[in-house]
Subunit: 201 residues, 4 copies
Amino acid sequence: MSLKEREKEFKKQVILEAASRLFSNRPFEAVTMDEIAREVGCGKGTIYLHFENKDHILTYIISGELGNLCSDIEEQCLNNPDLVDAINNYLGLQFRFFRGYNQILSSWVRRRLQDNVKEEWMDNIHNKLKKKLEMAVSVFERGHREKKLIPVDSYELARLLEAIFQDATFPFVDERSWHYDPDRIVSLMKLILTNGIMQAV
Amino acid sequence: MSLKEREKEFKKQVILEAASRLFSNRPFEAVTMDEIAREVGCGKGTIYLHFENKDHILTYIISGELGNLCSDIEEQCLNNPDLVDAINNYLGLQFRFFRGYNQILSSWVRRRLQDNVKEEWMDNIHNKLKKKLEMAVSVFERGHREKKLIPVDSYELARLLEAIFQDATFPFVDERSWHYDPDRIVSLMKLILTNGIMQAV
Amino acid sequence: MSLKEREKEFKKQVILEAASRLFSNRPFEAVTMDEIAREVGCGKGTIYLHFENKDHILTYIISGELGNLCSDIEEQCLNNPDLVDAINNYLGLQFRFFRGYNQILSSWVRRRLQDNVKEEWMDNIHNKLKKKLEMAVSVFERGHREKKLIPVDSYELARLLEAIFQDATFPFVDERSWHYDPDRIVSLMKLILTNGIMQAV
Amino acid sequence: MSLKEREKEFKKQVILEAASRLFSNRPFEAVTMDEIAREVGCGKGTIYLHFENKDHILTYIISGELGNLCSDIEEQCLNNPDLVDAINNYLGLQFRFFRGYNQILSSWVRRRLQDNVKEEWMDNIHNKLKKKLEMAVSVFERGHREKKLIPVDSYELARLLEAIFQDATFPFVDERSWHYDPDRIVSLMKLILTNGIMQAV
DNA sequence: CATGAATGAGATTTCATTCAT
DNA sequence: AATGAATGAAATCTCATTCAT
């Protein structure tokens, strides 16, 4: 019984990975169910044994990755004795998350705008986002207590950083001429976000 | 004859405005040509007298708005004797631009990824983006010469700020719980970007 | 303007006739939109310019024919000075109606059972059925006043006759061996329903 | 060995009963094999060990019930010394049969029209229908000899009564407003069919 | 024997684009 | 020049049936 369930779960993961691969490179609408099935190496119908519909797959991918992000933040930031390190880690995790999944996130936001995402699935995502936000806030609150951060409402700060990172790596409108080195960018961004662009006098 | 051309140009603008209105609120795919024609108040066929296809309209809108942005930057930043003011203006213009057009920009990027944007149209956009970038670089170079900015490559800085602003206002993944006040955000963002989030010791 | 509308209405009728032809011979599910388009001699999309979906066509056919039936009843029964003649006409009209459209009616009932018929369309049908029933009742009431009918509630009598005729011609479960002559049947049925099957003593 | 066969036969009956339950309430097409298996409490594949396909089940159900009907008619009508009683019983049995199975019968007729019923299975049904008809005819012939029935060809009379009853209870096109009491209807129908609707002078 | 995961043909519906009027 | 009716490619999703376990 447990074996059957494990096998089923495994197959679900295989589908998710294949779909994630495709959704990462092209917009949701441009990926067909036939393609996903071909990428998985199974029939179209098989996918529908594991997911209700195409949007369900998309949501599931995000839910999973968001879960991973939460675990990472909890581990590297919440339980980190060094505050500056914690903040740095938070910025790095955020950056990498959105760098990796912004095509998918952007697809999801678009689908939601068109009411293609079931309320129930949205709640799942919602809860994880909330948890992530709360963790960030908790880090920033600590920053305030330790007088390491500018005196700005923690919630707003967390929101704003989310917003900034959300698409720091959004497929650049003019990507052709900037072949950026991710590591270089993440450090530059951290530098700017922690110190600002104006030179201290 | 010049009158005829003016009339034609006028009609083109009317279509662009109507389409822009629709593309701003919903993803490109969710807006039909029928709807655009209805919004314009003309027949569907008429639109095809002015534009080759749906993606052409989208590109044209962006091209126009990008032109406006360039003019504004030139006027408020390039010719501004006060450097800090110039930088502040630049940040504000960027923010407002992406706030207003990110749904459209996002749609365009998506269409381009699917090879729906003609090379020729892309070049147009490209040139304007390049011009905008050059202007930003020129401002930052001045900032470096006047020792007002952190010593970071001007091109990279300009790119990074583009990236940050590009979707600072992107429809938030979790928009339900943050009813943000745009003015408050723009000032907060400027604060952070100029001073960073870490409190000066 | 009136010409355009007339043309549109004409095309709608052409589609209805083609669909009616197909739906009369085979169950709804067995008729594809492709087939209807082919029968009409137009593209699939054209049909959707006139009808919301496949079930809409079905409903529209029934609505139209029911309208014709109502007119006929009004003319031949309601305004008929000879009561026996009126009743005879009513029975004949009923019989021919259900003989001609029972495959279609049966399809519609089935689709409704599966909630494929919009409430709004149902109301349309409903009103016509009600009107038809009221007319029958009115005829029967007159029959009662003139002491020509057995003393049975007019509504129930009308309902019962509807039920009997509704499928007196329903594709016989074993149609292969009874190649019936419709006229012979209708007279036989009238005989039985007027005199009963038991011989007067 | 006989035990094995009995077991197999038993299982077949269990499946038939479950399927009959489902097919009685919803059209054939709306009932899935998954549902049937769930109702039976077995795997989908198991059903295919007993029946060739979905249409085979439907045919088998009808065949069985038709057999029961034949037995009942034989017992209650053919061997009945009281002719009027025999005829009454026949009408009652017919009515109840079609009342109970018209959804199923209607489904079967539809499937046959689409050539989904194997010739071989059809013959089975055919023979039973023929037997039933012959019995009815035999009763009516006796009625004629005893001068109790109107002088109408027995075959045609039997056919007609089949037709009338076949769908006296067919889901009324306008079922919403007539919540009929089956017993009341059967007696009313008997009254009409025996005395006719015209009042004796 | 019994199972149920896998399959893929096939159906409906949408909508950008064309073109006769 | 302006129109909007007509088109048909293309996408999602369902479900009877098979077959490896």
